[in-house]
């Protein structure tokens, strides 16, 4: 990943209902609306009733549209940007070095 690409990346933080299918709703939305989804991290929270999803997305012009379409999904409880997370957050998790 080049430095420029990292600087154009955004991390979205979703709180979602945790049930089988919510992942396909979220990833399906990206596929259907031709949004780019570079990385995804999903962990259960709130005792397993909810999940937190972190999405790495590119394409600044569409960011607002992506957020609004995500917010319309019934199982998505909240959508916010996470500028506080470092741009290489996912890369580090993925451990792609070595």
């Amino acid at each position: 990943m080049t430095t420029t690409a990292i600087s154009q990346a955004h991390i979205l933080d979703l709180r979602v209902r945790n049930h089988p299918g919510v992942m396909s709703h979220v990833t399906g939305l990206f596929a259907r609306r031709a949004f780019n989804l570079e990385a995804i991290l999903c962990v259960p929270i709130a005792g397993g009733d909810e999940s937190r999803m972190l999405l790495l997305v590119h394409g600044t012009p569409k960011l607002e549209q992506i957020e609004r379409q995500l917010a319309k999904l019934h199982d998505v409880l909240s959508v916010r940007q996470r500028p506080d997370l470092p741009p290489d957050y996912f890369e580090r998790l993925g451990g792609t070095e070595k």
């Binding site: 399906g28 549209q65 609004r68 019934h74």
Partner: protein, 566 residues
């Protein structure tokens, strides 16, 4: 309180009854049979369609007439896949629909069982929301929630997939555990500041143009939109799905915009300095090349779905709210505009660019003349359904819709085969009304099996075929843009539709191309009670004009055929 034992199936019929479902189109099959067994003792009337897509569009007809969610039902596998087109259609036209499908028992899910398909997965991209019910108790929340989601905000389809073992599972519940029915939940009112800002924008505009979208009809804001046009002396243009919001014949209505709009609407969009988009989504068929759509106008966009703001065009002001709420509070803030100059300009444009068609005496079966004749002949409150293609556009251009929900048409998805089952659904939803379905010879064949339902219930539906023995709108594009290479658009044979109708037990009429008085024959056929099919031959090279070439700006509209067109 005594507990009562339900099965998933009887609980489902009970919950549907409590939702107010009276008529339920569908087709049974193995994985939904427990539910059908429960229907046997339910007051719900099942309407046995002959194809699940027909069942889906019958439900469309009901929902589009009433504005309330309608339900339909199918079995697993092919039953579910056959429903998908109707579900996708409801998504694109924002129609409240609850589709219920049977699924193989949970013990068999994932084993490639007989008639197993991943209905949940297939329906993800075409529903507003969907469910796979894994526990019978979940029905208590899922069913009312499905109706709430279908009807609230921007309406849409919801699918509920119910495995057979869930339908068979027993559950003991108190009657007071039965949930309240779901339904339309109001959205928050628009902030006063937004309405004030909108009023200021309108007050400072010289040439405001109202762009009416289907959301006006959904919201019940038709009268308010007309009053807005009168108050600010503005012209209005309508999308296909907003026809009837402002009555044809109103001095403010300039017609349908977009691909088959008139030159007047294109020019008004080019000249306006404020575009008031209400319940509209800047569909490509309406805007043409979006970059060149209303280039000199500020845009005020009112919609219940905030994801529409900036999706295609960036508005100067966006208001996320119900159109009726916004317009109802906007009107008292507006002065009566006494300047007629802009409206006079619009009227002059409209009068200068009428639809081109030969006079009725010379060509009674010209499609535009036919549409106008039908409007004179049918009762004024007739509900019209169409299929998709040339006939649909001729109806949209030439039939004077005077009230909301009198045109039911597949606008977004453009589904051929919509018209007949939607007309059947309309007849169930509005039993005292005349229903007419204008269709084409290509479209009708896509769901012609539903003539059997028409015969079953003897519904007052007149099916009027504009028969050119062609896939007319395909042929038209091939003529204009593909060098007249008519690949796969001309039918080698066409059935005798009148005989076909009679084979189903329905009155069939064939109008001869050389009939001395074809319009009198059509009027005679329409005057008789009960369902009928009227086959009307039209010439195959008749085209829908004006037409904006796909991808072009609206102002590049083709007004009429030229011999050199290629």
């Amino acid at each position: 309180m005594a507990k009562k034992t339900y099965t998933g199936a009887t609980l489902l019929t009970t919950l549907l009854e409590r939702q107010g479902i009276r008529d339920l189109p569908g087709i049974p099959g193995g994985a939904i049979l427990p539910f059908y067994d429960a229907l046997h003792t339910s007051p719900i009337r099942h309407i046995l369609a002959r194809h699940e897509q027909g069942a889906g569009f019958i439900a469309h007809g009901m929902a589009r007439v009433t504005g309330r969610a309608a339900a339909c039902v199918a079995t697993s596998g092919p039953g579910a896949t056959n429903l998908l087109t109707a579900i996708a259609d409801a998504r694109l036209d924002s129609i409240p629909l609850v589709a219920i499908t049977g699924q193989v028992p949970q013990s068999l899910i994932g084993t490639d069982a007989f008639q197993e398909v991943d209905t949940y997965g297939l329906s993800v991209p075409i529903t507003k929301h969907n469910y796979l019910v894994r526990d019978v108790r979940d029905l208590l929340t899922v069913i009312p929630e499905a109706f709430t989601i279908a009807e609230s905000g921007r309406p849409g389809p919801v699918l509920i997939d119910i495995p057979k073992d869930v339908q068979n599972a027993a559950i003991e519940i108190d009657d007071d555990e039965l949930p309240a029915p779901g339904g339309c939940r109001p959205v928050p009112p628009a902030p006063d500041a937004d309405i004030d800002a909108l009023a200021r924008m309108i007050a400072s505009a010289q040439r405001p143009l109202i762009y009416l979208g289907g959301g006006i009809i959904t919201s019940g804001a038709s009268e308010l939109a007309h009053e807005l046009a009168r108050r600010i002396a503005a012209p209005a243009v309508s999308t296909l799905n907003a026809l009837g919001a402002i009555p044809a014949g109103s001095p403010h209505l300039m017609g349908m915009l977009g691909m088959h709009g008139t030159r007047a609407t294109h020019t008004l969009l080019d000249e306006c300095d404020l575009l008031l988009a209400i319940g509209a989504r800047f569909d490509d068929r309406a805007t043409g090349k979006a970059d060149e759509f209303c280039p000199h106008a500020a845009i005020a966009h009112i919609d219940i779905d905030r994801a529409e703001f900036g999706k295609i065009k960036r508005p100067s002001l966006s208001i996320e709210a119900d159109a009726a709420d916004v317009l109802g509070r906007l009107l008292p803030r507006l002065q009566q505009n006494t300047s007629r100059a802009w409206l006079d300009r619009a009227t002059a444009l409209r009068d200068a660019h009428p639809l081109r068609h030969p006079p009725r005496e010379a060509a009674p079966l010209h499609p535009v003349n036919l549409c106008r004749f039908l409007a004179e002949t049918l009762p004024s409150d007739t509900i019209m359904t169409t299929d998709v293609g040339q006939h649909q556009m001729w109806v949209a251009q030439a039939y004077p819709f005077r009230a909301p929900r009198t045109l039911l048409t597949s606008g977004g998805l453009g589904t051929m085969g919509f018209g007949l089952p939607a007309a059947i659904g309309a007849a169930f939803a509005a039993p005292d009304r005349r229903i007419a379905c204008v269709t084409g010879d290509g479209s009708l064949l896509m769901n012609i099996q539903e003539l059997a339902v028409l015969a079953d219930f003897n519904l007052p539906v007149a099916i009027i075929i504009f028969n050119n023995a062609n896939l007319g709108l395909v042929r038209q594009q091939q003529e204009l843009f593909y060098g007249r290479r008519y690949e796969a658009s001309i039918f080698e044979t066409t059935p005798d539709f009148a005989a076909l109708a009679r084979a189903f037990g329905i009155r069939g009429h064939s109008i001869a191309a050389d009939s001395a008085d074809p319009l009198a024959e059509i009027a005679g056929a329409l005057a008789l009670p009960g369902p009928c099919v009227i086959n009307i031959p039209i010439t195959s090279d008749e085209k829908v004009f004006p037409m904006v070439p796909p991808g072009a700006a609206n102002r590049q509209s083709i007004e009429q055929a030229t011999p050199a067109a290629a």
